[in-house]
């Protein structure tokens, strides 16, 4: 009789090449296939696991596609009103200074409705980490213009492309924040290739480690895609991102050890 | 006993702090007290007034339109508050800067040359304490020692070196207040 290989023959510790971190729940991700949110969630959770700080970490979910981040991240979390995550984080960190506190926010949440909270939390030098996902569009509400939408880029509220004379310029909020003395580490990364995933993970680890120094805000922008909002396949979206987003939002560290770095 | 007082004058004359010292003195004497200022932009250099109530009972309204006593330190306040003194009530005023003196016949009127006296003593800042002394002479509702305790309580410690001058001013007020009618 021919031997058949069953699932239990394959799932053995010696065959293990990849395992999802326990800090990601088993809930099915609500993100579109090809979206950068899932990858970014995973590397944040891996970082928290590797640092062994699960019991001392409090995360804050925004309003936007990642409003349900708490369904996927197996840590204590709060869900904030639109744009107010840095205000929540400010209070949590001040009341519990020994905790690791981070917000996870999209471009509409952080750079439009929440601009005041973002800038003032940074300017006060709150010892928190902000993970900022920039895909240049409002994903959850169906692809409207974001503050970071590129010039000429189409969205459901800029159907003929963003015209700066009417809609203003795309906002480089990350560069703006790096100017403030209250930020200590500011970096812009991406998660579209394995190499970039590794760099992003390093930046996030850095941001969390540096938070413990109490020298100010640490901030990691992840330039990401939105294939459904951009009306592209995941592959096309990543390519478009490389060709169009990266020239305007160049990757790399912007501020290290409280000093702006040249690019 | 319930004594309902309005103290009114210019901002900077120490109207509010005089009321506060009087209220604190009441607390030192186990009385119920309230202190209700006018507030807002009108305080910035304009008129200032405060309603102070001292009572042996729970105080009802801290805001009034009729008073047992009006302490009046400028003409606007004279015009506004003279009619609001209860019949048989007291009007105490400093004639300095007053162009129209009180005209009512159904109230007791006393005057105190407090600003003149403060200038003579070289103690302009405690003009209000001279007025307070005058009031306490006419209506000795709180004992002198409780007034000094109230003074200590209401002044921040950094001003405690001024207490002897304040005490002197209150005593001077007791002496110079004069009956008009």
């Amino acid at each position: 009789m021919e031997e058949t290989i069953t699932k239990s023959d394959i799932i053995k510790p010696e065959n293990l090449v990849y395992k999802k971190t326990d800090l990601m729940t088993d809930n099915v991700l609500s993100y579109c296939p090809g979206c950068g949110h899932g990858t970014t969630h995973r590397i944040i959770m891996e970082t928290i696991e590797e640092m062994g700080v699960q019991k001392d970490t409090i995360g804050i979910a925004p309003v936007g596609c990642s409003v349900l981040a708490y369904e996927f991240m197996n840590i204590d979390m709060q869900q904030a009103a639109h744009g107010r995550a840095p205000a929540l984080a400010t209070a949590i960190k001040r009341l519990l200074p020994y905790k690791t506190v981070f917000t996870y926010q999209g471009d509409g949440d952080l750079a439009a409705i929440g601009t005041a909270e973002t800038i003032h939390a940074a300017n006060r030098g709150e010892n928190i980490t902000i993970i900022f996902i920039n895909n240049g569009i409002y994903g959850m509400t169906g692809g409207q213009m974001a503050p970071t939408t590129l010039e000429g880029m189409k969205s459901s509220t800029t159907p003929y492309g963003r015209d700066w004379e009417m809609m203003g310029h795309p906002l480089k909020i990350t560069e703006l924040l790096a100017q403030l003395p209250g930020t200590y580490f500011v970096s812009r990364q991406a998660v579209h290739t394995p190499a970039n995933v590794r760099k992003t993970k390093k930046a996030i680890r850095n941001a969390f480690e540096l938070q413990k120094l109490n020298r100010g805000m640490t901030f990691v922008e992840v330039v990401s895609n939105c294939n459904s909002g951009w009306k592209m396949t995941p592959v096309q979206a990543n390519q478009w991102m490389v060709e169009n987003m990266f020239p305007f939002y160049p990757l790399g560290d912007i501020k290290v050890d409280g000093e702006l770095v040249k690019k | 006993m319930t004594e309902e007082i309005i103290i009114a004058g210019f901002g900077g004359q120490g109207v509010l702090s005089m009321g506060k010292i009087l209220a604190y003195s009441g607390i030192m004497q186990d009385q119920e007290v309230s202190w209700m200022p006018s507030y807002g932009p009108e305080m910035r250099g304009g008129t200032a007034n405060v309603t102070v109530i001292l009572s042996d009972e729970r105080i009802s309204s801290p805001i009034l339109t009729q008073y047992d006593t009006a302490i009046i330190l400028n003409q606007q306040s004279m015009d506004k508050f003279e009619p609001m003194v209860k019949p048989g009530g007291l009007l105490l005023y400093d004639p300095n800067g007053i162009t129209r003196h009180p005209e009512r016949k159904d109230i007791r009127i006393v005057r105190i040359e407090a600003s003149k006296e403060a200038a003579a003593l070289g103690l302009r800042k405690i003009f209000n304490m001279i007025v307070l002394g005058g009031y306490l002479k006419v209506k000795p509702l709180v004992e002198f020692e409780n007034v000094i305790l109230g003074l200590k309580k209401s002044l921040p410690p950094r001003y405690h070196h001024m207490i002897p001058d304040n005490e002197k001013a209150i005593k001077r007020g007791l002496e110079i207040v004069e009956e008009v009618q």
Partner: protein, 361 residues
């Protein structure tokens, strides 16, 4: 031992009450007529006295969301503002009600609408007692009428806020905030330690430990059936509050032919008006709701039994009168007398209004 007595403004008494009640964090934004709250707190250095955090936020919007964050961690948090600022906070208050977070919000009411005036008013009654923000929720609303109550209601407010996991509003006004009265100061209550928070408030986001599931503070639920269940739970809580937490005071109601119904500053005015009326032989009493939500419906109906008339006295166009009429169900004639725009009615005019509406007419 005789308690310490101080002469304090309502706003200062509230701030001292916060330190003494062991509050963990105050987050606020300046606005007249309540700025003394934060001024007092910063001058008192509560971080040295108890470890309390005091932070001037960039806006009222940020302040209330700071409360959300802190309350989510089981901390005693508070803010204070005045009418226009409270309007800005309504979104955050709605989120806190939805997420069932305890906190105290002090509204030192000034006249509106819009920027209005800085003078006292009671025109935010609807906003405070009927919800204020979006969605079906209520706030426990406490109405202090003296400086002592401004102090006392901090502790009472937290007892209720944590018991029911709900925001509590202290609805004061510019007159009570700015006036000074005698205040009895309590002993210091220590702040709650973090380990105690973990055991007392197992819902708090203090960091996930292996012995429990992760805690999530949210007001969102995209499943309508589950979200309806959540709403029903909130409503059941409000019904329980209506049963258990009614507070009110009656003054000279025993032989009264007429009742004033008034809260806060108006109730103080009415106490003088009672004297003036009784001097004329008109027997008037005062029914003072202390909780505006829950409104003391049954008690008012009881006290009003046999009365010839009720006069609701408010510094508004007539807001509480609607609750009064629901309470008495037409059993007694009820009228409203109010002033607006920052004008405080005088005891004489209130007494005259009663005569005008019920006796001379």
């Amino acid at each position: 031992m005789k308690k310490e007595l101080r002469l304090m403004k309502g706003n200062e008494a509230f701030a001292e009450g916060a330190i003494r009640a062991g509050v963990d964090g105050y987050f606020g934004y300046p606005i007249t007529p309540q700025s003394e709250v934060m001024e007092y707190l910063t001058a008192e250095k509560p971080h040295e006295r108890t470890g309390m955090v005091v932070l001037q936020a960039e806006s009222e919007v940020a302040s209330i969301n700071m409360l959300y964050g802190g309350a989510g961690c089981g901390k005693k948090v508070m803010t204070s503002s005045s009418s226009p600022g409270i309007s800005l906070m309504q979104e955050g208050i709605s989120y806190m009600a939805g997420a069932e977070l305890p906190c105290i919000v002090l509204n030192v009411v000034r006249g509106g609408p819009g920027l209005g005036t800085i003078q006292p008013a009671q025109s935010d009654y609807f906003q405070a007692t009927k919800g204020g923000g979006h969605g079906d929720y209520r706030l426990i609303t406490l109405a202090p009428s003296s400086v002592q109550e401004m102090y006392d209601f901090v502790k009472l407010g937290y007892d209720l806020a944590f018991k029911y996991r709900t925001p509590v509003m202290v609805l004061s006004d510019g007159a009570i905030g700015q006036m000074m009265e005698k205040v009895e100061i309590d002993e210091q209550i220590p702040r709650t330690q973090d380990e105690e928070i973990r055991s007392k408030y197992p819902w708090a986001t203090m960091g996930k430990t292996p012995d429990r599931e992760r805690n999530i503070i949210t007001s969102l639920d995209l499943d309508p059936a589950r979200h309806e269940r959540h709403n029903l739970k909130l409503q059941a809580k409000y019904r329980e509050i209506e049963k258990a937490e009614i507070r009110f005071e009656t003054i000279q109601c025993e032989d009264a032919d007429f009742l004033f119904v008034a809260y806060g500053t108006s109730s103080r005015i009415c106490q003088k008006s009672i004297q003036l009326c009784r001097e004329k032989g008109i027997k008037v009493g005062l029914f003072r709701p202390i909780t505006l939500f829950p409104f003391p419906k049954n008690d008012l109906k009881q006290v009003a039994r046999g009365c010839k008339g009720i006069l609701s006295v408010e510094m508004s166009a007539g807001q509480m009168i609607e609750d009064i009429r629901l309470a008495i169900e037409g059993s007694v004639r009820s009228e409203h007398y109010g002033r607006m725009g920052g004008i405080i009615p005088s005891p004489i005019e209130v007494a005259e209004a009663l005569e005008q509406k019920f006796i001379k007419s």
